[in-house]
Amino acid sequence: MSTLFFVLGFPLLGGAVLALVGHRPYARDINVAFSLGTFVAACVLTAEIIADGPILVWHDQFFIDPLNVFMVTLTAFVGMTTAIFSRPYMRIEQDHGKMTPPRMRLYHSMYQLFSFTMLLGFTTNNLGILWVAMEAATLSTVLLVSVYRTAASLEAAWKYFILCGVGIAQALFGTVLLYMAAEKVLGPHGATLLWTNLDAIKGQLDPSIITLAFAFLLIGYGTKVGMVPLHSWLPDAHAEGPTPVSAVLSGLLLNVAMYALLRCKVLTDGALQNQLAGQLMMGFGLLSVVVATFFISRQKDVKRMFSYSSIEHMGLITFAFGMGGPVANFAGLLHMTVHSLIKSAIFFAVGHATQKAGTQVMSEIRGLIKVNPTIGWGLILGVMAILGMPPFGVFASEFLILTTAMREQPWAAPFLFVSLGVAFASMMIRVLPMVFGETTLKPLAHPPALVPVFVHLGLGLVLGLYIPPYLNAWYVEAARMLGG
């Protein structure tokens, strides 16, 4: 299947090329070009999937179905817009002397490799390779986070590496157990870890092993999802890395982890025929939502605040998938999509805002709407969107999640109510003075790239008001696949 080859090939090649010329001024454009290529390839792939259903390629090593193909498109898209955004952003960073040519080279090539690992994780059919991709994604992002070489960024990267490394190790143990269980049914050979095969025979897998396996997989991939209390690495990593990296981290990487977790949940549900996995996920999800919102209410650093909000939303998504059922699953998938769009848009706006102010401390960023209205409006609209203000898409999914929870899990409703209220209160009171009011900021040296911001917000808006039929078909199909 040639399209898939391009989807994976572009970023890989891009990584290689940029490893050589990444420090040159035109490297920024090359970066964009490769991301664009990836995106185009992803679109073509999507078209093919829509045309003729799920496909297996390369000795079944790769499997594209509705669940992951739109994840692939989303990843490619956000990857592209982020690349566009990072052109002026990184240029300004270079002018500020925070980036040197060698670091630019590292940044660019790692950026491409990172998107390669994510796409690999999405498309692979082999749970082992999925694990490998996750680990590789961790490694590449560790380098991206530490690219400034400041004390803080080193610390963040170190914590990120150790915590996620350990977490991922648990996931590997889980995978081993999964293999062990599968081996009894399929016998010991290369195809045993293929998700399609496992999915086919999930009913026969040994429950006791699968239970143990899911425990490890949940801890492992949950660490990458950023579930409380495994989240400790997340705010540091988001806050200290370059803003484009923060954008892709919370916009995309968390999705990959969530995707891995979902694949495992499907198997577990099939094998156990009970609600164990769902209940665990609901518990962790709710805990994440509550704790994250209270963290939000005490933030001073803008990027930290939004990374906690990512934890909150991941918790919400986990909760939704935990509830299961067609509506909740639909809502969860929708929420994943819109969250990555809106959150990355917010990070774009925040990036420029912090560059203006020369600091990430919110109390020193004031009156953006006066200096640069587009950034200001982008930020305030983005924040309103992420807080679940209609007609943005986040509201659509939160609407479905809350209303479903109210009747299916009434005990959870008060927690969600309080958490969302607290999140709203604490975010608005910090963002309003940043956007409105008097200011002392000066305009930027280079024109900021705000097209991505408004493209993302626009898409978020559209998803709230009108979900195109084929996209809807994806969602429904994927939701059905997740069962529950």
Binding site: P229, L230, M389, P390, F395, R407
Partner: protein, 674 residues
């Protein structure tokens, strides 16, 4: 589909959508004309006003016709926007159209250049606000409703902080938005209950569900909480006296005159229409909340020293009264006493309508005063009647209506409400029978107090001598502003003089909600307003007014004919006290002092009394809302404390973080082991 091409085939719903679309279009044009101020002022806002008139017409004619439904191809794929225009929606469309027509005209003359947000942008937000309100009342599924509801919230939020340079205004906007959002979450959960696990969010489906008493009560309480937050009922009122003064006056007029009504619409829609079962204590709860809100509002409004805050608190009072009416009607219909339920509901809706008009009129007048003098504090105003008669006289009408005096709209509403309270004997529970007259007494007290407030409002602003020199230069309102205020004033008068026609308009609503109406008895009795029967009670505002007028004219003519009309102008006598100046009139604080004294325990007062040895002795008293200190701040502190505790989790030690993961792993393993 073809019908769309032939305007002649359009039904009311189509026309409503046309108006909505027109408003959105105007808004967008406003953005394009961002700096072209004249265009916005003289073309766009008046155009919006005309559309509002059209909407009002549509509403009137739709009130008497059968419900219409439509489906817009937007929204969630399984759940496109369902729209439905029944008599209830029609009634509220009349409110929106009628009021916003006047306010738009006023706004055309009101917005000046260089005040915070550019007029073009205000035009956008303003018309989105109007459109979303029109959509709220015709939305027929939970998702569409929530979307337009929140759109209404945040468009109005941006209007509130139009002048965002001032931190207080920003905070007011923040508070408003926060309470609105909390309320919206409540409504969301309420719909979650109502859809009863069917996953079908259309109102039609919700009507079909028969909930258990428990879930029904949950839904009702959530609805009261959610919509009450927007309506400003106790204890969720705190945003209202902050947001209304902060917003530009036409905005305050719309928020108080129309937006609060949207919340009341929500309460009606959920508790009368969507919920099939009605339980008696719902009504009692609503009544209790409503009356306490009303009493609280009116008492606080008497002691305010800032004109818009005064009006804001008075809005709280009126909303409370309306809620009380709803509660009574709910109580009656829960016992199947439909005629009385209809009476109470009619009273409440009548009050809703007239409040919409007179309150927006009053807010417009504050706007005009604000522009003329730049003063919003009552203590610095006075004597404006001479300088701005075009504002003063309509305001006088509005004040009389707001004080609930005959022959204006406010009085008829209170009259009907008292009637419905009076004829309640026959409720199954004797306790309720005892309770209801007491509530009637409360209502009488509240009405009288609102009279006090209104005398203070009008007297201090427009009568007496100017308390500041600069007031002498106050200019009167411009033509657009006059037009708007006259329109609203006309509304108050009509509502006061032609109750039967208005009740005929309300009748379909009561038939829809409590399956009974007053129209027949009323229509039978010509000029007289007769809710039940002539023996019981009757009131004829027209004759009433004519009577007063007649005697007025008679005495005037007689006196003029018989006696000399000699008049001499001289300095005020004032018991012969020679050195009087404007400072000797009652200040706003002074006028509220008796109420402050009587209801002292309700306030949170700080007094600064001068000592005999002060060089410049000064007296200052600040009255604050105790709920702010008993409810809101404690909650804020609680959140702060919790977040401090939770912050302990993240102390930066990687070993500790690893420990978290480790313990989590162990715990999960233990959990799955069972």
């Amino acid at each position: 589909m073809n019908a769309w091409l032939h305007p002649l085939l359009w039904v009311h719903l189509d026309w409503v959508l046309v108006v909505v679309a027109g408003w959105l279009l105007i808004g967008v044009l406003g953005v394009f004309a961002l700096r072209r101020f004249r265009l916005v002022a003289v073309v766009l806002f008046p155009a919006g006003g005309l559309l509002a008139l059209l909407l009002m017409g549509v509403g009137i004619s739709a009130a008497f016709s059968v419900p219409e439904v439509a489906i817009l191809p937007i929204g969630l794929p399984q759940l496109p926007f369902h729209l439905r225009l029944d008599s209830l929606s029609a009634f509220f469309l009349i409110v929106i159209g009628g009021v916003s027509a006047g306010v738009s005209a006023f706004a055309a003359g009101y917005f000046r250049q260089g005040e915070g947000t550019p007029p073009g942008l205000i035009c956008l937000e303003y018309h989105i606000f109007l459109a979303s309100m029109a959509m709220v009342v015709i939305a027929d599924d939970a998702y569409a409703f929530m979307v337009v509801w929140e759109t209404m919230a945040f468009s109005s939020f941006f209007l509130v902080i139009a002048n965002h340079r001032i931190p207080e205004i920003r905070f007011a906007g923040y508070l408003y938005m926060l309470v609105a959002h909390i309320g919206a979450l409540g409504i969301l959960l309420c719909f979650g209950v109502l859809q009863a696990n069917t996953g079908d969010y259309t109102f039609a489906n919700m009507r079909a569900q028969h909930l258990s008493p428990f879930w029904g009560s949950v839904a009702f309480v959530l609805a009261v909480l959610g919509f009450g937050a927007k309506a400003g009922i106790l204890p969720l009122h705190a945003w209202l006296p902050e947001a209304h003064p902060a917003a530009p006056s036409p905005m305050s007029a719309l928020m108080s005159g129309v937006m609060l009504k949207m919340a009341l619409y929500g309460i009606l829609r959920v508790s009368f229409d969507l919920l099939q079962t009605k339980i008696w204590w719902w009504g009692v709860m609503l009544m209790a909340i409503g009356l306490s809100t009303a009493l609280f509002g009116v008492i606080f409004s008497t002691v305010q020293v800032e004109m818009k805050r005064l009006l804001a608190y008075s809005s709280i009072e009126n909303v409370g009264l309306i809620c009380a009416g709803f509660g009574l009607s709910l109580l009656f219909s829960s016992y199947g006493m439909h005629a009385l339920a209809a009476l109470a509901l009619t009273a409440a809706l009548y009050h809703l309508l007239s409040h919409a008009f007179f309150k927006s009129l009053l807010f417009c007048s504050t706007g005009a005063v604000l522009h003329a003098t730049g003063e919003r504090s009552l203590g610095k105003l006075g004597g404006l009647m001479r300088y701005m008669p075009w504002v003063a006289w309509p305001t006088l009408i509005g004040v009389l209506a707001c004080a609930g005096l005959p022959p204006f709209g406010g009085f008829i509403a209170e009259w009907l409400l008292l009637q419905s309270f009076l004829f309640t004997s026959g409720l199954p529970s004797s306790v309720l029978n005892m309770l209801v007259p007491v509530m009637a007494a409360l209502i009488a007290l509240i009405a009288a107090l609102s009279g006090y407030t209104m005398v203070k409002y009008f007297g201090v602003i427009f009568l007496g001598q100017p308390r500041e020199e600069k007031l002498a230069g106050a200019h009167d309102a411009g033509p657009w502003e006059r037009a708007g205020m006259l329109w609203l004033m006309a509304g108050c008068v009509v509502l006061g003089l032609f109750p039967n026609q208005v009740i005929a308009l309300i009748d379909p609503v009561t038939h829809l909600l409590v399956s009974a109406g007053l129209a027949k008895t009323v229509a039978a009795s010509g000029w007289l307003l007769v809710p039940v029967s002539v023996e019981r009670a009757s009131y004829a505002p027209a004759i009433f007014l004519l009577g007063v007028m007649f005697f007025f004219a008679l005495t005037y003519l007689l006196v003029r004919r018989v006696y000399s009309g000699r008049i001499r102008r001289a300095p005020a006598w004032d018991c012969g006290y020679p050195w009087q100046d404007a400072r000797m009139q009652d200040s706003a604080e002074g006028f509220g002092q008796p109420i402050r004294q009587i209801f002292e325990p309700m306030f949170r007062m700080k007094r600064e009394l001068p000592t005999p040895f002060d060089e410049q002795p000064s007296y200052r008293v600040t009255v604050e809302d105790p709920l702010w200190y008993w409810l809101y701040l404690p909650i804020a502190r609680l959140v702060e404390r919790i977040s401090k505790v939770i912050g302990m989790l993240q102390q930066g030690r990687i070993a500790v973080y690893l420990m978290y993961s480790f313990i989590t792993l162990i715990v999960v393993l233990l959990v799955v082991k069972q």
